[in-house]
Amino acid sequence: MDLGDFRNKAAIVGVGYTKEQGTVPGRSALSFAQEAAKAAIEDAGLKKDDIDGLLIQPTIGQQSYSVAAKLGLNNLKLLANEDVMGATAPCITAHAMFAVVTGQANYVLCLYGTASKSGSFSGMMMGGGGAMPPGPAYGVFGANMEYGLAARRAMYEYNTGPETWAEIAMSQRKWANLNPRATFYDRPMSKEDYLAEPWVAEPFRRADCCLVSDGGRAYIVTSAERAKDLKEPPVYIAGVGQSHHTPDIEQSHHMTGPTGAKASGEMALKMADIKLSDIDACEIYDCFTYTVEVTMQSYGFFQPGEGYDFFKDGRTGPGGEFPVNTSGGLLSEVYYMGFTPLTEGVMQLRGQCGERQVENLNHILVSGNGGILQTHGTVILRRQQ
């Protein structure tokens, strides 16, 4: 048996949004997860009791079985917390795919809910147990500083920097300006606006960093056969891949690429039996502008130092030659880890994205990236089976 045997054998058939997203005080992470789960089940045209698999990306303290209990899911054949941070959505999609194709489960709900913006947020990059790492003694707090170190090193090794990242940030903002759900829907951003943004961890300005958001997102994976009988057009899982370079940033030898995107992308393309040039658009995990550059560079869309030419003049924005992060992404839509890019990829291939809809799409490459460039997952979504 080969990974290629799973090509187009599973599909994503339901997507669930929370009605409100962004800044939504007074609600728990669990309540957003519940709302998104219900919306995904309705969107698929299923009933609660059809769901026999649940994979969650937990927020701090969440357990899959208690989330299942609070969703009233009592007949599960697959249940797990899975967490590789920003790479989780592509990785659980692969897990769900194997489960539905092999018959372990029929309908697997993939779920994330968070109250990171307004709820109690226990600093996700602070180590998570064990002895306090040395970083905070030196004023190192949070992913923006650690990704900033990677980005600065890239500026030293090849031609990149704020000129390139401004192009990425502006194009994504233009997509967000077409997406009524987006946090920055009514906030355009010019080059001058970008340059006027305050430094956070120089070379990163605020506009280089993702949002922090409340809300949730869910989707359902089933077999290609079952998918045909459901309400909305299925979006097939053509390829999946993973590659995890685990050392932390201090010891990293891949902070300027190639990241796990390279091997992960090659695996997913091989499974899908297509070439990189067959990809029509990308939904790239964009915790930072630099992450978009180093990820797409590692996938092989351009050579190191050629990012500016790839992203300039709105080439990846609305109406551009190669659409990237069409919802506005984590920078300008909303931050639900890898669930933001993955669900946007599904909705684009369903053709249900309103003003921001891209025409003539067949393959969308979705990436997830977690830790400080330490985990990576890829999913290639496909419209036609």
Binding site: G139, E202, E250
Partner: protein, 139 residues
């Protein structure tokens, strides 16, 4: 030397693995583990060599000479103890022996720091129990 600006900052936790590192640091010695299996140096402290998985090592002294591998300038204090220090420099340094360490570059203006800048270790005694290694430009 007690430095007032260190007051209130989080201190690195002591674990079974890293206790020797911080004990040597108190004596103003920058030591890391050398694997007795493959002979390679490694950091952060661990019971197991990440190169060959051998479980025995010795602590060897480094020269304290290093270069800046990468750096950022932090403009927004994310902890009250750093409010008076912004902008400050966080850097990954690489010692001449090839060990990486995350630290602050002190003794110069943030805008003077660059990748590959030669730096020397400075031992900052936070209190009578703890010393933090930082780095300054080679004079």
């Amino acid at each position: 030397m007690m430095r007032n600006q260190e007051m209130g900052k989080p201190l690195p936790g002591i674990s079974e693995e890293n206790k020797p590192f911080w004990d040597y640091m108190k004596q103003h010695e920058f030591r890391v583990q050398k694997c007795l299996g493959c002979g390679k140096l490694f950091y952060p402290p661990s019971m197991m060599c990440p190169h060959c998985q051998y479980m025995e090592s010795e602590w060897v002294k480094l020269s304290g000479k290093a270069k800046v591998y990468s750096f950022i300038i932090v403009h927004q204090a994310r902890h009250p103890a750093f409010a008076k220090e912004v902008p400050y420099v966080v850097a990954i340094i690489e010692t001449e022996e090839g060990i990486r360490y995350t630290t602050n570059i002190i003794g110069c203006k943030p805008e003077e720091v660059y990748v590959d800048m030669p730096v020397d270790i400075v031992y900052e005694d936070v209190n009578d129990k703890r010393t933090l290694p930082k780095f300054k430009p080679v004079s």
